[in-house]
């Protein structure tokens, strides 16, 4: 049916010239977004880039200063209740209800969405087993580990089967095992076709989970695309790292420029990016242990785009 195709192509999240200004701080500076059903869409950037402000506006707990933000065609400004019913929100800071048990957290949350208690109970148990929390159902929140709390936050956000899941740094502060378990669960949700908006400053997380992402800094979108395209178009295939205070720094910089490579200095390291691919000849010529050649990643894109201003902060 042509109608349904048309509906599918309608963006699930749409922002036009979206601005958020706090008293003396321009947090989001006129961004445009088009996010489609089933996408996992990433917001990448340092603290203060405007990622959380954007998610807060989407979840209707922070008024839009100007511009437009629509979820499934509903405006956050005029229909906050309608928008909020579509969303599941996983906050950066744990805000589980410490007065209630694990199971009661889910049931109480379901009630805020007016779910009937039989459905809520069935959903809650399903979610607890899915997120490996079944044995903890009757425990208090403060007996849970950091990773369990984070999984419970995700389970809670899914209890009413939302159309869009907002995740604000879902693995910050977790140990590696706990982080991988959360990633595994998010990958599973992605396979089920849930639309996700994911804020993170872990490039690995973004590369692993996101279909498309934006790189933000100072409230602006610096670049957007698939992780692979962003790396290819902004950095290239390989990156050469050399200590910037080493004896050969000057020599290497000159050679890199002769090879048509871009050079950036961050901290104690010189990064040499070759937009059109080959960095190996340079590295071979150097023949020093202090030289590293590796595959380019999103972190390089970010360092290139955000550039030196990042270091001022």
């Amino acid at each position: 049916m042509s109608m349904s195709t048309e509906y599918e192509s309608e963006p699930i999240v749409l922002a036009r010239n979206l601005v958020k200004r706090y008293k003396d701080n321009l947090a989001v500076d006129g961004i445009d977004l088009t996010i489609h059903r089933g996408e996992c869409f990433g917001f990448l950037g340092p603290n203060g880039a405007g990622k959380t402000s954007t998610l807060r506006m989407a979840s209707c707990v922070s008024p839009v200063t100007s511009g437009e933000l629509l979820l499934k065609g509903k405006s956050v400004a005029t229909d906050p209740r309608g928008v909020k019913a579509l969303l599941g929100v996983v906050p950066q800071e744990n805000n589980l209800d410490t007065d209630l048990t694990v199971l009661d957290n889910l049931l109480t949350h379901a009630r805020y969405y007016n779910m009937d208690s039989t459905t809520a109970l069935a959903q809650a148990w399903e979610a607890l087993f899915l997120f490996q929390l079944g044995e903890r159902a009757h425990h208090r929140i403060d007996t849970l580990s950091g990773g369990m709390k984070r999984r419970l936050l995700i389970a809670r956000a899914l209890i009413h089967q939302p159309s869009v899941l907002l995740l604000d740094e879902p693995t910050t502060g977790l140990d590696p095992q706990a982080r991988h378990l959360v990633w595994q669960k998010l990958a599973m949700l992605k396979e089920q076709g849930i639309t996700m908006l994911l804020c993170t400053h872990y490039m690995e997380e973004a590369a692993h989970l996101c279909d498309r992402l934006v790189i933000m800094n100072h409230g602006k979108i610096l670049a957007q695309g698939t992780p692979r395209d962003l790396v290819r178009s902004h950095v290239g295939g390989k990156v050469v790292e050399v200590p910037s205070r080493g004896p050969m720094a000057d020599h290497v910089t000159t050679m890199a420029h002769q090879n048509g490579m871009k050079v950036e200095e961050h901290g104690d390291t010189l990064y040499m990016f070759s937009p059109n691919g080959e960095a190996t000849p340079l590295a071979l010529e150097l023949e020093e242990e202090q030289v590293t050649v590796r595959a380019a990643n999103l972190e390089d894109v970010f360092l290139r785009l955000a550039g030196r201003e990042l270091r001022e902060e």
Binding site: K84, N95, D97, D99, T108
Partner: protein
């Protein structure tokens, strides 16, 4: 600002569930404190005090204790407990991203505070009835009135909670407002005993009409002044509920 909706009930249910889970840890103090104060004032102090308007001091002071403990329960719930839910445990952040609005949330907190007032007032009323301090059937109206009383004080408390920067700032509300009001609002002695500027001032404090109304019902002495007290309470309630809703929205939606 939008108006609270039926979703207020969702927040009230949350607080009720927590109370039903934890009441055993609180109940001792809830029951013991008003009983101790009634015994101390009614039978201890009352021994040295003449009858007031032809009633024993215990009989005079009992309705005042009902009104003031109804006040304390709403005020404690909607200052310290509300503040902890809001700032320390960030529970409100988790609620306002659901279809529950800030106004539903605040109204739920206020309604729960008032529920605690009613529970307390009912318990002390039953106790004073058993001791023969209250006998008029009109005293049954104290139960619904304690809910209005609770709504009024819960709204005042939330208004304060919405603007304090720290948990400890709430102490000022108690030392500078609640405690002086408790002593100067006709709970312990008739306001006519006070010099006239102070007794006039006392009528501007919300506990004064509340205590007057509860006492009138406890004695079964109906007069137009009870209606006046009721209207004054409704006035305080309307003013502070509006403030509470607006200030909480300002605090939570930024």
């Amino acid at each position: 600002m939008t108006l609270p909706t039926y979703r207020t009930v969702r927040v009230w249910q949350r607080n009720r569930d927590v109370f039903l889970r934890l009441w055993k840890t609180e109940i001792g103090g809830i029951i013991a404190e008003p009983i101790v104060i009634l015994a101390a004032l009614g039978f201890g102090l009352g021994f040295y005090v003449d009858d007031i308007n032809g009633r024993a001091y215990a009989e005079f002071v009992a309705p005042g204790i009902i009104a003031s403990y109804a006040m304390f329960h709403a005020v404690f719930e909607c200052t310290f407990s509300t503040y902890l839910r809001m700032e320390t445990h960030r529970i409100f952040d988790g609620i306002i991203v659901t279809p529950v609005s800030v106004e539903d949330l605040v109204m739920g907190e206020v309604a729960w505070g008032a529920t605690r007032s009613t529970l307390t007032a009912t318990a002390i009323l039953a106790f004073t009835y058993i001791l023969g301090m209250v006998s008029s059937p009109w005293a049954l109206l104290i139960i619904p009135i304690s809910f209005i009383l609770g709504l009024m004080f819960a709204s005042i408390a939330i208004t304060v909670t919405a603007i304090v920067p720290y948990l400890n700032s709430l102490n000022n509300f108690f030392t500078l407002f609640i405690t002086p009001m408790w002593f100067l609002s006709g709970v312990f002695f008739p306001l006519s005993e006070l010099p006239s500027p102070i007794s006039t001032l006392a009528w501007l404090m919300p506990l004064t009409p509340a205590a007057h109304l509860v006492r009138g019902l406890a004695f079964g002495e109906l007069s137009w002044s009870l209606l006046g007290s009721f209207l004054a309470m409704m006035g305080f309630l309307a003013l502070f509920l509006t403030l509470a809703l607006r200030l909480m929205r300002k605090r939570l939606i930024i």
